[in-house]
Symmetry: C2
Subunit: 384 residues, 2 copies
């Protein structure tokens, strides 16, 4: 399978800078993760914060995912408005307005969320009405990242009981996300960290079972830990996100028996050569407003001689240094630059240009970006 050609007729029509996805490899990544979950008998609930795309969420669900995970209420609102059902919000929702919006979503669609404090439980319980069916809550457990979650087994047990005792709420399980272990390079070290993190969840789950509060769901994990967590007999569902596009950083990870993670890099930024006046170098119109900077430097370039290097050169510019004696790309030619940190790169754009296997193009909107209080769907362009 050849990668997309930045100078193909269809991509030549696209306004730059623009996000481009290799659609065939994207579908392969989706299928590969789903197959691994299927083999392990574990549910898949892909995290949509990576792609913010109802189209990709739909493909994940069609492949067999039980639903999706969202990081914010905005993402959940936009996904549900686009027809995606069964959404887990993976971070506590705090504030009267957001709790009101949560209740509205609950009345429209299957939704669950995590809590890590009794005051959050009380606020949600109070916002629900007597006609509402119980809203399912998971206890968020801090399994080492020190970000959100209850910080002890005792606190987790108390919070589960608090949920169960509250009106119009239902305790359904636990979430533990070990963000800190996903990128540990050495496979054995990573495996050990993954199992250590899961042990905290298992201890709490055992205590809950002893109290007749068995967690029906134990949700968590990410792309880097997924192979271990599928084997680990702890999680009932996994929340990997990055595997659809793959962060370059994951390329450094060593997996079981020396194999890398079996997912391909599928996300690019398309740029135009806008200046060709310097020897051995051209300037393109994609800089730090088009490509996230908190990853390794972009090092996959299509459309320029091999061994060329991209360097950020401001908000709207990058410079590409060419190898000695290489031909200078012509003014106006196009280059694809591999995104190295996908989630924040996606967040810089409003839509994807997806190159299908047959070379044609689809445009998919990106949803759930901050909109300063503008109502849901205001910001959503139509897909093609």
């Amino acid at each position: 399978m050849s990668p997309p050609d930045p100078n193909s007729p269809v991509l030549s029509e696209v306004e730059t800078p623009a996000l481009v996805v290799d659609g065939a490899l994207l579908d392969a990544n989706i299928e590969r993760m789903q197959a691994a979950a299927r083999r392990a008998g574990v549910s898949l609930r892909p995290h949509a914060k990576t792609h913010k795309s109802p189209e990709i969420a739909r493909r994940q669900c069609q492949a067999g995912a039980v639903g999706i995970a969202c990081a914010t209420i905005l993402e959940a609102e936009d996904m549900i408005a686009a027809g995606i059902s069964d959404v887990l919000i993976t971070s506590p929702v705090v504030g009267a307005d957001k709790v009101r919006r949560l209740v509205q979503l609950h009345r429209r669609s299957a939704i669950m969320l995590v809590v890590d404090h009794p005051l959050q439980v009380d606020a949600i319980s109070a916002a629900l009405g007597s006609g509402d069916v119980p809203l399912p809550l998971l206890v968020d457990v801090d399994i080492g990242q020190a970000r959100t979650g209850v910080a002890s087994t005792a606190a987790g047990l108390a919070l589960a009981k608090h949920i169960q005792a509250a009106a119009r709420l239902r305790f359904v399980g636990l979430q533990g996300y070990a963000g800190h272990v996903q990128h540990i390079i050495d496979a054995e070290d990573r495996q050990q960290a993954v199992h250590g993190a899961a042990a905290l969840l298992r201890t709490l789950a055992d205590r809950l079972r002893a109290e007749r509060l068995a967690p029906a769901i134990i949700s968590g994990s990410g792309t880097g830990a997924s192979a271990f967590d599928l084997d680990g007999d702890c999680y009932t569902e996994l929340q990997p996100g990055s595997y659809v596009f793959m962060d370059a950083d994951y390329g450094r990870l060593r997996e079981h028996n020396g194999m890398p993670l079996p997912y391909d890099n599928t996300l690019f930024v398309l740029a135009t050569v806008i200046s060709v006046n310097r020897a051995g170098q051209v300037t393109v119109d994609a800089g730090t407003k088009a490509l996230a900077v908190n990853g390794p430097p972009p090092d996959r370039l299509i459309g320029v001689p091999s061994a060329s290097n991209y360097t950020f050169a401001g908000d709207e510019h990058g410079t590409i240094t060419l190898p000695p004696s290489a031909a200078i790309p012509r003014l106006g030619s196009r280059v694809l630059i591999g995104a190295t940190h996908c989630d924040p790169t996606v967040n810089l754009h409003n839509g994807y240009h997806v190159v299908k296997g047959d070379g044609t193009l689809m445009r998919w909107p990106i949803i759930g970006r901050y909109r300063a209080g503008i109502s849901p769907t205001t910001n959503i362009p139509e897909g093609e």
Copy 2:
């Protein structure tokens, strides 16, 4: 003047994370730069890529700016659609579709742009019709940043002649932007670099005058170099952008006779405390999707005990470490986090919440963000 209170009634209603601007200090920054330009007898054309806000552009023009600078055709389209006239696009516009859009703008409003290659000139000339008034072009000169611009005096002279010879175009001047010198810490080193960069422009301007192609406009400079360039007898207009919000990095610069740059930090991200389970630490809902990471770590925090520290903790989270024995902020309380790199932080949001001197709030839209080919104004919320 006291800074905005994140737990004031008006800010408590704002959905987090959100951009917040200190409106009174913003107005003072605008007036202070304009006054400096006025004293020096140099025009001000503030760069709008910093704020992407028609409201702020309007205030800059009302204060006396001759117009604004935009980095992209998208920004120019949205500014002109919002009623801002006299726009200079500060980067070459390459590609048939963008050239068509440029011509459309030229037919609606006063617009100028820079070019750095004869092929760009030819494309624009060919796209204009016989009924069009001449479009004013500036020759972009590389004065040391090695990004865009002609790379020699000879090339600059040839390009100016090429413009003058082309149909429906008018050569009006030069642009040189020395991005690389804006952040040099030592004032003497910076002054020397600024003067060295301007010398290249001066040489070309002299050559052009000798050829009866005197540049009416010499445009350039930025916030860090502005004080020197106002004194420097080279530029007819300055393009500073950051001074409206000020990047934290500029706080490190030493100015003339030991004084810092006289502009205040006015840009914050408002966040909510969403997790309070760990000793000496809380978690807020603003991370790398709310605050740009390519600046110093955020170190101005309002709403938490002094000597607290913010650390990025993922796309949607930050952790705030509290000083020993400090009271833990309550769940749901609000914090203002000073943005340290303003342009890319603004680009993550869709609008500003501006706190006026009387404590009331305005919401101003942010325009000109990439929109995947969606037509102008689709994406623009209404200001209040």
